[in-house]
């Protein structure tokens, strides 16, 4: 592998974690309270839509070769450029800080009860900033390593939960109306596809795609959807839908049950590492995006000032921004619209330019 480049697998594992960030940022609670047992089907419905849209995202990226900010910089007039930069800065900044505060409260509530939230927040910010400062190649390598750990933890939790599965809890199916199906699959779709848009900050010339690796990102997206699907089946079949709806993070409740031969018990904190990973990569990519936006306006030598500024901003706002999932979902929808408006505008401007350049007969 050439320096400053990432492999297709590393790129795909980042995709995998970004897609999984839905589990921490929104969680199963929103979906199951909307469509009960049918949420299992809604995950599949939302998953198919994600696969279709991810095809458009990757197609656009492969065609452009540059990152999204370079495209804006190159092809748009200054007013539109500033408009996009400001909008992206605020929207991605908000979603990243939201994810950070969710992750902090998760760690504080389930793992480090005795430790002050601010200490957890500062540690997470420091970790994120350090990884971001190392650039895309380091992010790629870390995500690949953690991908294998993630799979291992998932398999362990699956094996540990098999004995508690009661498939009758999955019944009845097809009980909610079309609107509920639409709501929950929409929640899954928007809270998963928007983090995927953060990939547009990685210029495609930095990714080593070989012919045989072309389908790898799609495979890992499919894997992420399947794992979410399996985990939801596990949660509902173990807890039942009524109890699932009571808890904000039902996945942690089922982890608490896992015990191997009555010897290896109370391992939920280890298993919760997967939840942390899901959120952490979203925050890392969000911070990387923001850092890249600001670096367009700052000289390169002042990067350490930039990182310090971002760290202070995240630590202060991470404590102030209220955790409101509905608002986060709305921001996701706006972000999705902004991205597709940009793509539309980009193709439109290209089309107009080609028309202007065509000699008249």
């Amino acid at each position: 592998m050439k320096p400053n480049k990432i492999t297709a697998l590393q790129y795909s594992t980042i995709t995998f974690f970004l897609l999984n960030s839905f589990l921490m940022n929104v969680g199963y609670h929103k979906i199951t309270t909307s469509s009960y047992n049918d949420s299992i089907l809604d995950i599949l419905l939302g998953g198919i839509t994600i696969l279709v849209f991810s095809f458009f995202i990757f197609h656009f990226q492969k065609k452009q070769k540059q990152n999204i900010l370079d495209i804006i910089q190159k092809h748009f007039p200054k007013i539109i450029k500033v408009f996009f930069f400001i909008i992206l800065f605020f929207l991605i900044g908000f979603t990243s800080i939201y994810a950070l505060s969710i992750l902090t409260s998760f760690v504080h509530y389930y793992i480090l009860k005795e430790v002050d939230s601010i200490i957890i927040l500062m540690t997470l910010v420091a970790t994120t900033i350090y990884i971001v400062s190392k650039g895309i190649p380091a992010i790629g390598k870390i995500s690949e390593i953690f991908f294998y750990i993630y799979l291992l933890i998932f398999i362990i939790s699956f094996i540990g939960l098999i004995q508690y599965i009661d498939l009758s809890n999955l019944k009845p199916l097809f009980i909610t109306d079309f609107k509920s199906h639409l709501t929950s699959s929409e929640i899954y779709f928007f809270s998963s596809i928007t983090p995927l848009l953060l990939l547009s900050i990685i210029p495609m010339h930095q990714v080593e795609f070989k012919e045989k690796n072309k389908k790898l990102p799609y495979l890992l997206i499919l894997l992420s959807i399947i794992l979410v699907f399996i985990q939801l089946i596990l949660i509902i079949s173990v807890l039942g839908i009524h109890l699932t709806n009571v808890y904000q993070t039902p996945d942690m409740i089922i982890y608490k049950k896992i015990s191997f031969l009555n010897v290896l018990e109370r391992i939920e904190v280890v298993l919760a590492f997967n939840n942390i990973l899901n959120s952490l990569f979203f925050i890392i990519m969000g911070v990387y995006f923001i850092k890249t936006i600001i670096s367009y306006f700052l000289p390169k030598k002042k990067e350490h000032i930039l990182y310090t500024l971002i760290a202070i901003l995240f630590i202060i706002l991470g404590n102030l921004i209220p955790i409101d999932t509905s608002f986060y979902l709305r921001i996701n929808i706006i972000l999705f619209i902004v991205f597709f408006f940009f793509i539309l505008l980009h193709y439109l401007s290209k089309y107009i330019r080609s028309l202007l350049n065509t000699p008249r007969s």
């Binding site: 005795e114 109890l243 608490k256």
Partner: protein, 331 residues
């Protein structure tokens, strides 16, 4: 280099594992919690296990902490103030509730334990009758002893069953009804009293020992039991639903069959129709119909009253080798 060193020093100070840690010796493990509600005040009693190192051997001692407050949170805070060590709630094994606590504050108590992530949902919940909570808790009966008593009786007599917090919560979330194992402490003697039914978060009825065995039998929780002059050695119950028709199939091994089928079928029918008439879904059968036939469930108002029961038995009598011919070889 200096900047990097500075960052490193800051990071070291942030290492979360090194801050706010609690030594194992500074922990008090909460093994049992008792809750009573008298004169509009919660009476909270917590039994904690303290381990002391004595002559290189760990000696366990139970300490009882007590508090009387308006709310459960206040009472717990008061308990914390009285404890020199940090209370470790994750190992809670038993929650003992009195009749007053259930009748007046059951939903609040359940909600408190549901909201606190420190507890695991696998602690057993029992109802205490026949003695004041403080007398009972101060006897320092080991939690394991009570839990084992229930567990052994489920296995050997069949009129009791362990019910953990999660199971109770699941039942309450369906229709606000559940049932608890009941313990009684009279003359400092701990005995089991079968089950107490809960309806709308209040005590509804107490089951007799025979009724408790029937309930366990219907729920496939029996291993050994004595019912209608028959000794049950093994039982497996299968419940199937077809619209409002509920079929129970019992695969039972008996030591001797003394008219078991006829008498048990009569008892089971009486038992189920009694609660059906009272509008109390003791087996959560409407939930079973909801799961298996949702459209029928939706179309049928007052489903519980329309349920019909059918019982079938597959009885095997355990062979008495001394009376049979099998052991004598024939040429």
């Amino acid at each position: 280099m200096k900047i990097k060193l500075g960052i490193l020093i800051i990071l070291i100070s942030l290492l979360t594992g090194c801050k706010s840690y609690t030594e194992l010796n500074d922990l008090s493990i909460v093994s049992a919690i008792g809750i009573d509600y008298q004169e509009e005040k919660y009476h909270l009693i917590v039994n904690v296990i303290d381990g002391k190192l004595d002559d290189q051997e760990i000696e366990k001692s139970i300490t009882t902490l007590e508090s009387n407050k308006d709310s459960l949170e206040e009472a717990f805070h008061d308990i914390y103030l009285k404890s020199s060590k940090k209370l470790y709630l994750s190992h809670l094994d038993l929650l003992i509730l009195t009749e007053n606590a259930i009748n007046q504050k059951f939903s609040e108590i359940i909600y408190y334990f549901l909201e606190n992530s420190e507890y695991r949902n696998n602690f057993n919940v029992v109802l205490l009758t026949g003695d004041s909570l403080i007398n009972f808790m101060k006897q320092n009966i080991q939690t394991e002893e009570i839990n084992n008593l229930i567990k052994t009786n489920q296995k050997e007599t069949g009129f009791c069953a362990t019910k953990d917090f999660e199971m109770i919560l699941k039942e309450l979330l369906i229709d606000k009804n559940s049932y608890l194992s009941t313990i009684s402490n009279t003359n400092q003697e701990l005995t089991l009293e079968g089950f107490t039914l809960i309806k709308d978060y209040k005590i509804y009825q107490t089951l007799t020992k025979e009724e408790s065995i029937l309930l366990n039998m219907l729920q496939n929780k029996i291993q050994n039991a004595y019912l209608n002059q028959n000794s049950i050695l093994e039982n497996h119950t299968i419940i199937t639903t077809n619209k409002n028709h509920i079929s129970f199939r019992f695969v039972t091994t008996l030591s001797h069959n003394h008219n078991f089928q006829k008498e048990t079928e009569y008892d089971l029918r009486q038992f189920l129709t009694k609660y059906q008439k009272e509008g109390y879904d003791i087996l959560k059968l409407t939930e079973k119909v909801r799961k298996n036939n949702y459209s029928y469930y939706q179309q049928t108002p007052h489903l519980l009253s329309q349920l019909t029961f059918d019982f079938s038995f597959e009885i095997t009598e355990k062979e008495n080798y001394l009376q049979g011919d099998a052991i004598y070889e024939t040429q």
